[in-house]
């Protein structure tokens, strides 16, 4: 089986989820965290536009006729997830740039909007809806291409949870790495808790998907065995389950219980959040590649 959708698509699926997750993190921190979580919302807002812009760039490069891409925006094909997805990511990217602008220090806000705080609040209330759309439609996108692995109905949910998890992790990572305004312990504690819950949720979803897949038709079942024992097994078990889920979860749980010595706290925070991003990338990788690897049995 030849691969039609390669690394570019994987990068896009990952970056779109990452941006959406960072956006939701920022929005919730702003709406419910108040002054105390200001830095979290700021970091989320600063991260959000960039990954998806990179993703859109590689997506454009992956097109056979890149100069024809405007055709996407001359129509809305309601039965094509890619069609409404394109509109969604267009609006998301546009609004995420505006959101970032509203989070800039006041002397950089040269356009002089009259009441930026109101707009910020409005956007923070609307963006989670759009973000959930951006993060989960990629699962529907694969659902619609009738391939055995991609028919898994939980795929959009998996992508959504993985997106939120990587989004939170990216905020943790940037907060921990940034030399100034290093996030305070309480903020990191809450973010880490949220991420740990999301990782547990992701594990449960993956487990459910496997059980559902293995009890499905022969085509679907063997598509899943490509993941579990076949050519993609080492990526699945080592890079996703091991490095991407179990180890960061263990590290995060230790952080939450304050089992990490102080001098190790920063490296552990950095590595656990990096591993979540790493695992999130390979979730998209394995689904994209293994999905094309397996076809239907006659």
């Amino acid at each position: 089986m030849e691969l039609t959708w390669g690394l570019m698509i994987v990068i896009y699926l990952f970056t779109a989820g990452l941006s959406a997750g960072a956006m939701v993190t920022s929005n919730f921190a702003f709406l419910y965290g108040g002054q105390e979580f200001e830095r979290v919302s700021r970091f989320g807002a600063y991260i959000s536009p960039f990954p998806i812009s990179l993703g859109l760039g590689v997506l454009l490069l992956d097109l056979g006729s890149p100069f024809n891409f405007y055709r996407l925006f001359l129509t809305l094909q309601v039965r094509s997830p890619m069609s409404y997805g394109s509109w969604a990511i267009l609006f998301f990217t546009f609004l995420s740039v505006i959101y970032l602008y509203l989070w800039l220090p006041e002397n950089y806000q040269v356009l002089g909007l009259r009441n930026p705080q109101t707009w910020k609040k409005r956007l923070a209330k609307f963006m989670p809806v759009l973000s959930v759309g951006v993060a989960s439609y990629t699962g529907v996108l694969l659902n619609a291409a009738v391939r055995p692995l991609w028919t898994a109905p939980l795929l959009p949910v998996l992508f959504l949870v993985s997106a939120l998890s990587t989004g939170v992790a990216s905020v943790i990572l940037i907060a921990a790495l940034s030399p100034w305004q290093r996030a305070r312990h309480r903020e990191l504690h809450l973010l880490t808790k949220a991420d740990a819950i999301l990782i547990i949720l992701e594990c449960l979803i993956i487990l459910t998907m496997i059980v559902m897949g293995r009890t499905n038709s022969l085509s679907v079942s063997s598509a899943f065995s490509n993941l579990l024992i076949g050519p993609f097994a080492w990526i699945f078990w080592l890079l996703i389950v091991g490095l991407g889920l179990i180890i960061p979860l263990a590290l995060e749980l230790m952080e939450l219980k304050d089992k990490i010595p102080v001098k190790w706290a920063l490296p552990v925070t950095i590595s656990s959040s990096f591993l979540v991003l790493f695992g999130g990338f390979f979730v998209r990788f394995v689904i994209t590649y293994a999905g094309q690897w397996s076809g239907w049995f006659n």
Binding site: D62, L63, G64, Q77, R79, S80, V146, G295
Partner: protein, 191 residues
Amino acid sequence: MAVRMGFVIITSRCIDCDACMVACRAENDVPLGNKRNWVKSSGVQGQFPNVKEIFQPGNCMHCEHPPCVKVCPTGASQKRVDGIVIVENSKCIGCKYCIVACPYDARFPNPVTGKADKCTFCWQRLEQGLEPACVQTCLGKSRQAGDLNDPNSIVSKLIAKYPTRQLLKQVGTGPNIYYIDEAVPEIPQGE
């Protein structure tokens, strides 16, 4: 009844000469390294001396419910009123969604045009009253094409007379290629 164009392929008459693939390439300028139609082999089956090998030619199934048309984000992939599934090149952006969505792998990214490419049922020949190139060239008369809804067509007569099978019917695409594995001594006359 509406026209429903489709193929009947008689595997027992295919000798794997691949002339259909050559004819298609010549007629449609298909770039080397890609193909719009194919002949697949079952491999040698059974034990010597009772061995057999079945050849199964194929191309786009011009499905009743084509996933490629459904997923197309720009409306470039279309099903014509006569049932032929085509790509309107000017609308195609080359996203390759239709290519991954086709369970028969009947489409490919054309490296010359940058568009999704596939069997067009040789509609340019149909307009001149000719058969598709692969059908016309088939020396075993294994490939037959016509209106599946017209009871007087060769394809309908063959389907009425012999047991047929379709590929991946369970996927729900409603493929419009009917395969006959039995020996067909004579091809019926038809329109």
